[in-house]
């Protein structure tokens, strides 16, 4: 009897690099990343960070310039690796004249699955497309098209599913449905890699997160460890009289004197944080005129945190934050 093979990581990238022809710099720069089988893994980063490039290399849509990429231990270009991975691309790419049933049937056929082994009907049901199974794709709503793309990626029952920004431009209800489905698949044993620029999404779904920026990995850790110490709230204190420095009683907090009459304290979600700050303010007997709390955005706080971990040169971090602030208001996202 053959010995049982040791379970290979779902995805293993070593020294992975990609430079597009004519581009000024690399889209991916020496990325090393191991994604354990069975996890829901989040690839987080601003637009242009290299998330899609990484995913498209796994999908076989982009040729890597260097390094290795393996899916369950197999080189990405091999037929076995193609069978092992399902990819939901970011762009809608449905043939408008195909019905969902025909599209699933076609995709299963391209994967070499015999008619009797196809999962067209269960997939249509699982993704809520059964009622529209025989309507052409152009008559489907945006949400249904997105779900059809997920179904197409699942025709060959891949052990690894990759979703490239699955919820970009998708409404709240559909986002919830997609998350539920991703969780169900993961419970059934599918390894999931999803890219997003919504930290909240990664936080809700993923057990591990890799942060990508400007083609380089900034951090890889469990979601919990990455979010620990995340200070996403501020307490803004207006003072009756000007101060020269932050009072010593607030030394244990992330407090700055923004103006002589204003102290800003950043704090996180850990239990009792606000109460401890208030107790310290009371003890310091500060002349408080007014106070208020603010949540400047999980993403900004997160980028700040990652930057503080000192994972990359300050110059690059500076550029990233300038881009972030220049993008103005909008949905809370790392841009």
């Amino acid at each position: 009897m053959e010995p049982r093979p040791i379970q290979a990581p779902a995805i293993e990238l070593a020294d992975l690099a990609k430079t597009y022809p004519g581009a000024a710099g690399p889209a991916l720069h020496r990325v090393d990343l191991t994604i354990p089988a069975g996890s829901i893994f989040g690839l987080l980063g601003p637009n242009g960070a290299g998330k899609s490039t990484l995913i498209n290399i796994l999908a076989g849509l982009v040729r890597r310039s260097g390094g290795t990429a393996r899916i369950l231990g197999m080189e990405v270009e091999t037929r076995a690796a193609r069978h092992a991975i399902g990819v939901v691309p970011q762009e809608l790419n449905l043939d408008p004249y195909f019905t969902p049933r025909a599209a699933l049937d076609l995709q299963a056929g391209l994967f070499g699955i015999p008619r009797r082994s196809r999962r067209t009907e269960p997939l249509l049901a699982a993704l809520g497309l059964a009622a529209m199974a025989d309507r052409p794709a152009r008559s489907l709503s945006g949400g249904m098209r997105r779900r059809l793309m997920v179904a197409k990626a699942l025709v060959h029952d891949p052990p690894v599913l990759v979703l490239d920004e699955p919820t970009a431009g998708v409404d709240v209800e559909l986002r919830r449905q997609l998350w539920d489905h991703v969780r169900r698949l993961n419970r059934a044993g599918t390894t999931v890699l999803l890219s997003t620029h919504y930290l909240h999404e990664a936080e809700m779904l993923c057990d591990r997160i890799a942060v990508l920026s400007e083609g380089a990995l900034l951090a890889v850790d469990t979601t919990e460890a990455l979010l620990r110490g995340l200070k996403d709230r501020t307490l803004d204190i207006e003072l009756e009289r000007p101060l020269a420095a932050v009072p010593p009683g607030l030394a244990g907090f992330d407090a700055v004197l923004a103006t002589p009459r204003r102290i800003v304290i950043r704090y996180g979600q850990e239990p009792g944080a606000a109460a401890r700050i208030l107790a310290a303010l009371h003890a310091a007997a500060l002349p408080i005129r007014d106070l208020g709390t603010e949540r400047p955005g999980l993403e900004d706080a997160f980028l700040e945190l990652v930057r503080r971990r000192g994972a990359r040169p300050a110059g690059q971090a500076e550029r990233a934050s300038q881009r972030s602030s220049a993008s103005g208001p909008g949905p809370r996202a790392i841009r």
Binding site: N56, G60, L61, V62, R64, G66, E77, N93, F111
Partner: protein, 266 residues
């Protein structure tokens, strides 16, 4: 650059016959779904030329030993074969690129050879269907004795494959509809119309006769005519040789382009 960098798409393992058959069926369904445009239209266009030439040149003396209408019938059928084989593969690839559903093929476990075979055979099928229907419609008005059905079939198949493969290259190359249209108008149409389709090369004045003889497709049209009518200006062996060599070269080139991901993968 690190060693192990993937220059080629290497796909190993057993052949994906179901995938190949699925792709071929998709290609055939794609054109049959709009048969009025992809099959009936080209047949009617060929027949219109047949009627125009028939009416205008009915009194013309026989060409190369055959009545004029009988002489041009195989040429018109071959024109339909070539133009439609080309149109099918080039537009299939271009539309898939524009719609983005080329991704469905690229993520699938299809080797470059399977990918090429599925697409190219779809084009061959459309070309042969148009050619066959054109011939059937002209049949009552011409004298096609078909002295050499093997030669006729070989040239039909070879011509269809030739232009199907050219269509693959054009479809890979083109990024916009007008680019594909330009190749169809400025390359495919002149070749298919001028390769002895309506005239005998012997009747051309010099230097046009010598120039015409440099056109490889001329020999395919002539071989097809020899098989259907029994008259020909060139040696049958030349047509066979050209069909074999040109198709082998084009298969090798297409396979190489697909392997490298040319214009498909960044």
């Amino acid at each position: 650059m690190t060693r192990g960098a993937a220059r080629d798409t290497e796909v190993t393992g057993r052949a994906n016959w179901i995938g190949l058959a699925t792709l071929y069926r998709r290609e055939v369904r794609r054109f049959l779904a709009v048969w009025a445009q992809t099959v009936a239209g080209p047949v009617v266009a060929g027949l219109l030329l047949f009627v125009i030439f028939g009416a205008a040149l009915a009194g013309r003396p026989p060409v190369a030993g055959a009545p004029y209408l009988t002489f041009i019938a195989p040429g018109l059928a071959m024109m339909g074969i070539a133009q439609n084989a080309f149109a099918n593969t080039s537009s299939s690839l271009l539309v898939a690129k524009l719609q983005g559903n080329i991704v469905d093929l690229l993520v699938a476990p299809l080797s470059p050879a399977e990918f090429l075979a599925g697409i190219a055979l779809g084009g061959v099928t459309r070309g042969l269907l148009v050619g066959a229907l054109t011939l059937v419609a002209m049949w009552p008005f011409v004298e096609l004795a078909v002295p050499d059905p093997w030669m006729a079939g070989f040239c039909a198949l070879g011509g269809a494959l030739l232009f199907s493969l050219l269509g693959v290259i054009a479809g890979l190359w083109a990024q916009r509809m007008d680019e594909q249209g330009a190749i169809a108008s400025f390359v495919v149409a002149p070749i298919t119309l001028l390769s002895g389709t309506f005239f005998a090369v012997a009747a051309l004045p010099e230097p046009f006769r010598q120039i015409a003889l440099l056109d490889p497709f001329l020999y395919v049209v002539d071989g097809f005519r020899r098989g259907l009518v029994g008259v020909g200006e060139t040696a049958a062996a030349t047509a066979v040789g050209i069909v074999v060599v040109a198709n082998l070269l084009l298969v090798a080139l297409c396979h190489r382009l697909l392997r490298s991901g040319w214009r498909l993968k960044q």
